[in-house]
């Protein structure tokens, strides 16, 4: 048996499909594992994991621990936490990374107290201090006013959750080699204390998930009235973007709360975030400032949103946004 230390990625699956963030975590996990001299592995609880391993190998996992049980088909906190905690206690990985999804953010904190591990939520940067053997986990705090690097010197594993789109995914090939290691967990002793009765997928006029979107077009109070959100939707659909909103517009009832970005809304990290008529209050910035690129459209040259913008367009959004859409459409046509 090899004695190399291991870095694990929790391979979240829903309805038999691996979550996108898992590929990102494996890609970043590979970089960290190389630096630390660890082996990269994935942990896959599901009803039947064999068919999902290849995808995990292709993104760098050398080993996949599959935990198969009909009770693990869909996420259930008691069963999942028991399964993952038992495997951790037995194999003693150095690091475990989870996606900061609704599932990851239930599972990771439960497992953390079960196995006595530290957990850092919503990391935006991960590095490894080779000398000390510590994972350097950097995350925003106090609504994005400050960045903190967290370490966990005396407890193992070191665990983090990471949002979607923070790390780039790198597929190695379509036929990477890896080893499936089936692991048995006896869940018969875990009492059945909660049952999922139904899962409802809500259709929306813009169905692109903000958390996973590559592009986001967001509207603020500057949009003026609910009908005017049309220009935001039009630009978004031209770009294949999701639609975001500031709290001011949500509170005014112009758009549903699903779209709210910010401290009390969603945290997003797209390739491009286009803020239209948003002033840039700190609570809004908290939800979007780690976007790769920020484009701000605002008629007030002193709006704080311009402080964090890569490109600032000063002017009336009612002219600029439709023009933006027109020129994108034209560029696509040519």
């Amino acid at each position: 048996m090899s004695t190399t230390k291991e870095l694990w990625v929790f391979a979240e699956q829903r309805e038999g499909k691996i979550a996108g963030v898992v590929q990102e975590l494996l890609s970043q996990g590979q970089i960290l594992a190389d630096k630390a001299g660890f082996t990269l592995a994935a942990v896959l609880p599901s009803a039947d994991g064999a068919g999902l391993c290849q995808e995990l190998y292709n993104f760098g996992a050398k080993k996949v621990y599959t935990i198969d049980d009909p009770k693990l088909a869909d996420y259930q906190n008691d069963y999942y936490s028991r399964a993952v905690a038992q495997l951790i206690n037995e194999k003693k990985p150095e690091i475990v990374l989870y996606g900061a999804t609704t599932i990851g953010r239930s599972l990771a904190p439960t497992v953390a107290v079960m196995v006595d591990a530290g957990l850092t939520a919503d990391c935006t940067e991960l590095d490894f201090d080779v000398e000390a053997g510590n994972l350097l986990q950097t995350r925003p705090a106090f609504g994005g006013n400050i960045m903190a690097t967290i370490i966990c010197p005396d407890h193992r594993p070191q665990m983090s959750t990471v949002r979607s789109n923070v790390f780039k995914k790198t597929k190695l090939s379509d036929r990477e080699a890896g080893e499936q290691i089936p692991y048995e967990v006896d869940l018969s002793g875990v009492p059945e204390r909660m049952r999922r009765l139904e899962s409802v997928h809500e259709a929306d006029n813009n169905s692109i998930d903000l958390n996973a979107a590559q592009f986001i077009v967001s509207g603020g109070r500057g949009v003026g009235k609910p009908e005017n959100f049309k220009v935001i939707y039009d630009l978004a659909s031209e770009l294949g973007a999701a639609v975001g909103a500031s709290r001011a517009t949500v509170d005014a009832g112009w758009i549903s709360h699903h779209h709210q970005v910010g401290q009390t809304g969603k945290t997003v990290c797209p390739v491009i975030y286009i803020a239209c008529g948003i002033s840039g209050a700190i609570q809004h910035l908290a939800g979007m400032q780690s976007s790769d690129m920020i484009i701000a459209i605002n008629k007030d040259p002193d709006a704080p949103i311009f402080d964090i913008a890569d490109y600032g367009l000063i002017g009336d959004l009612h002219q600029i946004v439709p023009e933006f859409q027109k020129q994108i459409a034209a560029a696509k046509a040519s």
Partner: protein
Amino acid sequence: MNIVVCIKQVPDSDKVTIDRETNRLNRAGVPSIINPFDENALEMALQLKDLHGGKVIVISMGPSQADEALRTALSHGADEAILVSDRKFGGADTWATSYTLSLAIKKIEGVDLVLFGKQAIDGDTAQVGPGVAHFLDIPMLTYAKAVEVTGDTFKVDKVTEDGYEIWDIDKPAALTVVKEANQLRMPSLKKKMAAKKAEIPCWGVEELQPVEENIGLAGSPTKVSKVFAPPVKLNKEILSGEPSEMIAELIKKLKEQHVL
């Protein structure tokens, strides 16, 4: 039905600034508020009480000022408040906080439901709810937006990435509550007066008898090794003029950078 609501007092992040020289938060003079999501947890508890009777008990762990947040909760309609406070609890991360809060909740009899906010806006970790539930050995659902009592279980709507799920969860249960759930009712004048005078017990090490290595800084696996100001954008470009020209310029740049 007895419901415990865990509320945290947090600095109003609207008013927090950072000292760019020392990389420390300027917290002096920053007003403290009840963590906004905990208001939703409180309102959910009050609505259940309106329907089914019982008691709503708010509990907060923190320095003695957290007393203020508890009194505010009483003025909105909570029945009882408990402050969990001791110098030895200081420096707790979410692990140690979960452990300490769970000891306090264990001391309260006949609890059917424990509610938390989705996350606290100072740390944004969302870890304390699941942690406490594990220490109490009760089932837990995150991101609850609605709850109904159905005999010995609760029916809970839980928000997911693309909609919601309906769960049936056994009593006693723990839930973390999202903003969409509701809006906290206004405080009443009468309750405000009563809240001012209310006796709020303070539970510390003596009352809770914790395992000492599990509390405070010592009980916290995570340590902050560095804090720094978020990097500022250096190469920003501001465009103004005719919309058509600005956009043409922007699209050209985006293409050069291969993001379009």
